[in-house]
């Protein structure tokens, strides 16, 4: 019986993921120039990648971007969620809707917006923050050191709001008995947060973290592809996906392009692994009761030690 239910997903999975993935693996092991498979070259592409400066640059930038995004978005969302929880109930619905809006806007729209705001001569940022103070105008989207901050701004704007909402929901679903016990014992806000709320939030934060990393390596590429119209050569050493695009559709080196994607996958696998490993260790061992028991002991300890 279970198998009948698995069939539809299984079919889609095999047809539109497994088969392309396996064939792609084979493609990455062949020359793969211009639509033909070409001779078998083994791990040549992967070895080339190792020394490819562009790939190194793209990978490093993407990783850096992911790290910075994590460090910016997670704390910001957490703080916003906490503030939301403490804010006036009547306004909360409005706040939540507005905070969700960036997640609902198309990346393309955001890119257009940023392109306008960061325009060297007509942009808001340059005109309000720099020129009045006598600083020279910055060409945000083209000048080297500023592209990453622009990307970071985009990612923060996009995800901080929605993530805050998710965290808020998690905060509100913390079982009241634990919080009440802590309050009765006279635990301070900070202690309550640190020892009771945070462990409950940990899985959600971890999920948010994995999502941000995932976004950095796949979605944000969409935004970046739009940043420079026609300047494909200039900015493909910033993110992985544009580089895949360049290798495949400009140089027709499909084998190499495939290898790029496959070589990047392990990073996502790693972050995913971290998430699975640490999200609910008690659950993984099959003991939901053990987890609950651990929480009860936790709360007891907080009460005893204040």
């Amino acid at each position: 019986m279970p198998y009948a239910f698995l069939l539809p997903f299984g079919f889609l999975y095999v047809t539109f993921w497994a088969i392309p993935a396996i064939r792609g693996l084979s493609l990455s092991l062949h020359a793969g120039e211009a639509f033909s498979l070409g001779p078998f070259v083994g791990t040549q592409h992967y070895e080339r990648l190792f020394f490819d400066e562009r790939f190194q640059s793209a990978f490093a930038h993407t990783a850096l971007f992911a790290g910075l995004a994590l460090a910016t978005v997670l704390p910001l969302s957490l703080i916003t969620a906490l503030l939301l929880q403490a804010s006036w109930r009547r306004l909360r619905g409005l706040f939540r809707f507005i905070l969700l809006l960036p997640g609902l806007t198309a990346p393309a729209a955001l890119a257009a917006l940023l392109a306008l705001a960061l325009h060297p001569t007509a942009g808001l940022v340059n005109n309000f923050l720099l020129v009045p103070f006598g600083r020279p105008e910055i060409d945000w989207l083209r000048d080297d050191p500023w592209i990453l901050p622009a990307l970071l701004l985009q990612a923060t704007w996009r995800w901080s709001g929605p993530l805050a909402l998710v965290l808020l929901a998690a905060l509100e679903s913390i079982p009241r008995p634990y919080l009440d016990a802590a309050a009765i014992a006279g635990a301070s806000h900070w202690t309550t947060f640190w020892r009771i709320s945070l462990p409950f939030l940990a899985p959600v934060l971890l999920f948010g973290g994995v999502f941000i990393v995932w976004d950095a390596f796949s979605l944000s590429a969409d935004v970046h592809l739009l940043f420079l119209r026609g300047g494909v050569g200039i900015n493909t050493d910033r993110l992985i996906v544009p580089y895949i695009f360049l290798a495949a559709f400009r140089f027709l080196r499909f084998g190499y392009a495939t290898a790029i994607g496959y070589a990047t996958a392990p990073i996502l696998a790693l972050s995913l692994f971290a998430f699975l490993r640490y999200r609910r260790p008690a659950d993984a061992a099959g003991g939901a009761e053990r987890f609950a028991e651990g929480q009860r002991l936790h709360a007891r300890r907080v009460i005893d030690h204040g």
Binding site: L6, F9, F16
Partner: protein, 279 residues
């Protein structure tokens, strides 16, 4: 709340959140304002936030079939997003149900399969996907865009987690009363898991609605293009009045916002169910 300290906290928190929300909402507001501006207005005077006069020109441009068949693009995008979401949700719910509540040989395999789609998502799998779509003759078809996106690996994992936490007693009770496995799924599991399923559906819909990489690679004829794709092509380009781009962007938010309003009630319930520690 009579406690003065509590009142102060409430006010402070509200103001703080208000500021954050304002900062978040500002670019959006600017987007709306810009959609009413003409091109010279946008570039000419960056200091002016609001347009001199409300010119609906951009929206008119959008509507007239002139250079931008908005209605066509909109319907294409809608078709893609809805079908993709529907298929992903149905397949993921069924698979998630079984994965979360039954043990059977190959369970780990299914788990691994779902995970693999996260590790190697379409953007990284782009080239093999592109070539494969071509080989099975789905290039330049909406189906070619829909199908790869309907592999709901994330959904399977998410829904299986929800299904697993549903109370055993209800299923046992139903079994005692003679319900078969299919009935268990349809009459017990589904209604209980509805909040989570709705949440996932919403997420998937929004991502599909904005999708532009796959359409870029698969579609060729302009009358098959999707909104996300065309918007991506116009954004930041000097060839198109950016005011019109802003107008299109604003219009694009509407379906997503509608989807949110439909699903809003279910969000909190879904997360609470996920976090439930009491059996």
């Amino acid at each position: 709340m009579v406690d003065p300290r509590g009142r102060w906290r409430l006010a402070a928190a509200s103001i703080a959140v208000g500021s954050v929300t304002g900062a978040v909402g500002l670019p959006f507001l600017w987007m709306i304002a810009a959609s009413f501006k003409s091109n010279p207005e946008i570039y000419g005077n960056p200091a002016a936030f609001w347009p001199e006069s409300l010119s609906w020109g951009n929206y008119e441009l959008l509507w007239s079939d002139g250079g931008f068949p908005f209605l066509r693009l909109f319907s294409n995008s809608l078709a893609v997003a809805i079908v993709q979401t529907a298929v992903a949700v149905c397949t993921a719910t069924m698979a998630g149900f079984v994965l979360g509540r039954y043990t059977f040989p190959g369970r780990r395999l299914v788990f691994g399969a779902a995970l693999s789609t996260i590790v190697l998502p379409p953007p990284l799998l782009l080239i093999p996907l592109f070539l494969w779509i071509g080989e099975i003759g789905l290039t330049d078809t909406l189906l070619g865009v829909i199908m790869p996106g309907s592999v709901g690996g994330v959904g399977v994992l998410f829904i299986s987690a929800i299904m697993r936490r549903l109370p055993r007693e209800l299923f046992d009770q139903a079994r005692v009363e003679g319900a078969g496995e299919y009935a268990l799924f349809w009459l017990v599991a589904l209604p209980l898991a509805r909040p989570g399923i709705a949440t996932y559906a919403f997420l998937h819909f929004v991502l599909a609605w904005h999708e532009h990489l796959l359409p870029l690679v698969v579609l060729r004829s302009p009358d098959r293009f999707t909104l996300g794709l065309v918007l991506a092509g116009m954004a930041g380009s000097a060839r198109f009045p950016q005011g019109m781009v802003m107008a299109a962007s604003v219009a694009m938010v509407v379906p997503a916002a509608v989807a949110y309003l439909i699903v809003r009630r279910h969000f909190a319930a879904a997360l609470a169910a996920l976090n439930a520690t009491e059996p």
